[in-house]
């Protein structure tokens, strides 16, 4: 079995078996940690063996449904490698950080499903396979929202589910349409990305099909007008799912834009790029301002996360090597920081039973370690120098400047908005007077430190030695940005 298949199916298969020992929560947790660590080891192995001079590697291809040309086609390149790595790193840390909480087996089983689903969606190079994982990933999230969510969780789970499935169904029609066009042009169906990139569309066709795909991705990310599910869902979701959504699922949407839309509809993407850059910049400001006005901690971070994702979208649509490297770097950097931050919010909620910023305060006095980490992660999201976010944002801004000086200027300024609300959080939550909720705040426990320290170290390492990480992305990025005529990868 290929290592990629192993990474995808190990968590899924183990999760299936865990259903039968759901009652024994302790065992489930331990198995969860072992499995996710095994996936981490496999991914490390993948990372080490990944050849930095090449783009698409570890390809695995079998025929799945021969009649319709659907293949089981997997592969990893520089950009997807980053997402695989961060997925593998974050998942075990969730369990370590929340070890004392969440005494329900279903929670961990669903998270394992999510991990497999995300890995599958990132690694698949066949549209049907991608669609399968893309939808499958939704099911455990739906169950977790409904089972473990707070306040009106049924309604919110359903809303989230309907919202995202609507996008997916439009994408499904677009996928089928492409396959039929392929049949018209080449005489047989195909859903394989390598085959489909040879297609040529009329401009109207490609605009509509592009729209179908974009709807699904824009809802997941979310890009500006499709964000209305965001704040409710984040507020109600349990910590594990918030981390998954902000760190993995949303990133998957941006990644999919790059992977599928850029390689299938190169011309249309170029044509529409200015609009999406505009939409991205608008979203960056809009979500930033929304975040500033929130009083609920999780909602605030939800908007902050959406604001950064808009920046990632901008980076991709700049169509430039700096923008691309910066965006894929920011995907990983932001995922690490936001996962850590949401983890800490979860830890905080366990102690204070509140998410309201007004009811918190003075934590730095009673819990110095907590305050240190919280401030560090909050600042790393903003992108202060020596953190990974800084490198990524710098690259995107450089790209933006080469694209257009005004765009560069605007994106450089808008990043400052993140400063405003992060400083507000830091000052209100960590400093000031102690409140009733925070008076007996316990500092970080050992297992919580165990989860947070690796993330902090990784963020620092990525900020201080960026070259060590970027050289894995570069060949992919170079190929895509220099080869503007053709699609983004070959093999």
């Amino acid at each position: 079995m290929n290592i990629l298949s192993l990474i995808i199916f190990l968590p899924i298969i183990v999760a299936l078996f865990l259903f039968f020992i759901k009652e024994n929560v302790k065992l489930v947790k331990i198995v969860y940690i072992i499995v996710t660590l095994a996936v981490l080891l496999l991914s490390l192995d993948l990372y080490i063996n990944f050849n930095p001079d090449d783009s698409m590697q570890f390809i695995e291809s079998h025929i799945w449904i021969a009649e319709y040309g659907i293949n089981y086609h997997l592969g990893v390149d520089g950009v997807s490698l980053g997402i695989v790595m961060m997925n593998a790193i974050i998942m075990p840390l969730i369990a370590i950080g929340l070890y004392k909480q969440r005494d329900n087996g279903g929670y961990w089983i669903n998270l394992l499903f999510v991990q497999g689903g995300v890995m599958g969606a990132v690694l698949s190079l066949d549209l049907m396979l991608f669609y399968l994982f893309w939808e499958l990933m939704l099911l455990p999230i739906f169950f977790m929202l409904g089972l473990f969510g707070y306040a009106r969780s049924n309604f919110i789970a359903m809303k989230f589910n309907l919202y995202t499935i609507f996008g997916s169904l439009m994408m499904l029609i677009a996928i089928l349409y492409i396959a039929v066009v392929h049949k018209e042009q080449f005489g047989f169906y195909s859903f394989d990305l390598n085959e489909l990139k040879k297609l040529s569309f009329s401009s109207m066709e490609s605009l509509l099909v592009f729209g179908g795909f974009m709807l699904a991705f824009a809802i997941k990310i979310p890009i500006f007008p499709f964000h209305t599910w965001l704040s409710d869902t984040y507020r109600s979701a349990p910590t594990g799912i918030v981390i998954v959504m902000s760190a993995l699922m949303a990133k998957l949407g941006v990644y999919a834009i790059w992977r599928f839309l850029f390689s299938l509809f190169n011309d249309t993407s170029h044509l529409l790029a200015p609009y999406f850059i505009g939409l991205g910049l608008f979203g960056l400001i809009y979500f930033g301002i929304s975040a500033m006005s929130q009083n609920h901690l999780k909602r605030m971070f939800a908007f902050s996360s959406a604001s950064h994702l808009s920046l990632i979208v901008v980076g991709f649509f700049i169509y430039d090597i700096y923008g691309l490297v910066g965006s894929s770097y920011l995907i990983v950097a932001h995922a690490l920081s936001s996962a850590a931050l949401f983890l800490m919010v979860g830890i905080m909620f366990e102690r204070t039973r509140t998410y309201s910023i007004d009811e918190l305060g003075g934590i730095a006095r009673v819990a110095p370690k907590f305050a240190l980490f919280f401030a560090f992660f909050a600042l790393s999201i903003v992108g202060i120098p020596s953190t990974a976010g800084f490198v990524a944002e710098l690259l995107i801004i450089l790209g933006a400047f080469t694209y257009n000086i005004y765009i560069g200027f605007i994106s450089a300024i808008t990043i400052l908005i993140a400063m405003l609300f992060m400083f507000k959080v830091i000052s209100k939550v960590l400093y000031g007077e102690l409140s009733a909720a925070t008076a007996n705040f316990k500092d970080l426990r050992f297992h919580e430190l165990l989860a947070l320290i690796p993330l902090a170290l990784l963020i620092l390492a990525m900020g201080i030695f960026p070259n060590f990480f970027i050289h894995k992305i570069k060949p992919t990025a170079k190929y895509c940005s220099t080869n503007l005529e053709g699609p983004c990868y070959v093999k």
Partner: protein
């Protein structure tokens, strides 16, 4: 065993055991459970016989001298016969406890079931309009009575009467249509009609087209397409659960088998006349059906209404047949199988957990089922996901085929409509999941039904999953490709 032999033995076997049960049912020795087992064994043996002939293309006229080429046994009919028998078998096997505990399930119900199956088997083999009509009426009559089995329930009697009246009225359209066709072609044999159509011009085919429209009304009535399907909710609600499952899963497929045969053989060349009608009907059916399903408060009625929506999807594929891509007709057969196994499973679970009390299952009755019966609710979830067309289930592959064939025929916009109604269906199917998993209930755990019934439920759930992801590469079990291949054989054997 030759194909001819099987084609004669299967209906004969059904008929003989029906008559046997009818004759000896009143004797004390042949109690209800014996009648049940006789029926099950009959179904099992004839299923094995029929299923052995579906994996190659063949077509034989059965005793053409005696039956005057009215009966044909080909892969097409073999496939459908296997489906009917499997459906009836599963319905009975899953609903065992329901049947045992319900007073009104007497030995006559098995007789009626066997008679209706006999009708369906003949219907799928009919190569002639009159034979098809008689077969359709045999099965319809038996199903009418099955709907009204529960004599003490007003609702069942109402459903029976409504279905009987409307059904007989709808059948008369068929007769009229057949008469028109006969007036023009001087034959009721499908091959003769096809020959007539291919050798004459449109001007001398007007009566055929009009007759076809009238026959279409009957077909649309039987598959409960809007606007002819106003009976469906009341009847499905009034009938007891196993019968509802049987009607939605098996009887509907029988009607589709005949519609598909007549459409492919005779009417495919009139596609530019019929397609707008069929597509219009499909859209109305899908959206009105969705609307009906959304507003229901009982799961049984919701499933009944959603079966209307599924008819709508199939109608889209019917319209796509004319484009002659060769994919639409196999897609219909695949979808019928996908819908059939999921619907039988979903209804089956409802009958498995209702037992005899006449209470209609509301959404609230399912609250907390996942806590007390994780396996049952897991299986129901799989069936519902398949009905909703969620990836990794057979229902998704079915929708995938149908939408692809629609896009290929140039009806992209109708594929989008289909996707819209699939989107709405997510709401009402997931509502059941929400109730099972997220709502708390104070009900105590009760033991349901027979273990053997549950094994059949689980087996169907596995088939649903395997039909969604299966490939012969893994474990060397035939998967999606094999099913697709079988539906292709079935269509090929028609020509």
């Amino acid at each position: 065993m030759s194909n001819e032999f099987i084609a004669l033995v299967v209906p004969a076997l059904l008929l003989i055991s029906a008559i046997f049960v009818l004759l000896f049912g009143l004797s004390s020795y042949y109690s209800k459970s014996r009648a049940y087992y006789i029926t099950i064994i009959t179904l099992g043996t004839s299923l094995l016989m029929a299923i052995s002939t579906i994996n190659k293309v063949h077509s034989t006229l059965i005793l053409p001298d005696i039956f005057n080429s009215m009966i044909v046994y080909d892969t097409f009919s073999a496939t459908f016969i296997s489906l009917f028998l499997l459906g009836a078998f599963l319905t009975l096997a899953i609903a065992k406890s329901f049947i045992y505990t319900s007073e009104y399930f007497t030995f006559e119900s098995f007789v009626l079931l066997l008679f209706s199956l006999f009708g369906m088997v003949t219907l799928s083999m009919a190569n002639e309009l009159l034979t098809a009509f008689i077969a359709l009426e045999i099965s319809s009559m038996s199903v009418y009575v099955l709907v009204g089995l529960n004599k003490n329930s007003l609702r069942a009697s109402e459903a029976f009467f409504k279905y009987l009246l409307l059904g007989s009225f709808a059948s008369s359209f068929y007769l009229l249509g057949m008469m028109l066709i006969f007036a023009q072609t001087k034959s009721t044999n499908l091959n003769d009609i096809a020959y007539f159509i291919s050798t004459t011009d449109l001007n001398s085919q007007l009566l055929i087209i009009a007759g076809g429209l009238l026959i279409m009304i009957t077909v649309l009535f039987k598959i409960a397409a809007v606007p002819f399907g106003a009976w469906v909710i009341d009847v499905y609600e009034g009938a007891s659960l196993p019968i509802t499952s049987y009607m939605a899963g098996v009887f509907k497929i029988a009607v589709f088998s005949f519609a598909l045969r007549i459409f492919l053989l005779d009417y495919a060349s009139f596609d530019d006349i019929y397609d707008p009608l069929i597509l219009g009907g499909a859209v109305v059916t899908m959206f009105v059906g969705s609307l009906l399903a959304v507003v229901q408060t009982s799961v049984k009625k919701m499933l009944a209404a959603s079966s209307v929506v599924h008819s709508g999807y199939i109608l889209i594929a019917f319209a796509s047949i004319g484009a002659n891509t060769g994919n639409a007709a196999p897609a219909i057969i695949f979808y019928l199988f996908a819908y059939f196994i999921s619907a039988i499973g979903a209804f089956g679970i409802l009958s498995y957990i209702t037992n005899s009390n006449e209470k209609v299952i509301n959404y609230d009755d399912l609250d907390g089922l996942a806590k007390t019966h994780p396996l049952i609710s897991g299986a129901l979830t799989i069936f519902l996901l398949s009905l909703a067309g969620f990836p990794s289930t057979i229902g998704f592959i079915g929708k995938f085929y149908i939408f692809t064939s629609a896009i290929e025929a140039g009806y992209t916009i109708f594929a989008v409509f289909g996707a819209f109604s699939a989107f709405i269906s997510i709401y009402y199917y997931f509502k059941v999941i929400v109730h099972m998993y997220f709502k708390r209930s104070i009900k105590k755990r009760v033991e349901y039904g027979y273990k053997i019934s549950f094994i059949f439920i689980l087996a169907s759930a596995l088939v649903v999953l395997w039909g969604g992801v299966g490939t012969s590469l893994l474990l060397n079990i035939p998967g999606i490709d094999a099913l697709n291949e079988l539906s292709k054989y079935a269509i090929k054997s028609l020509y």
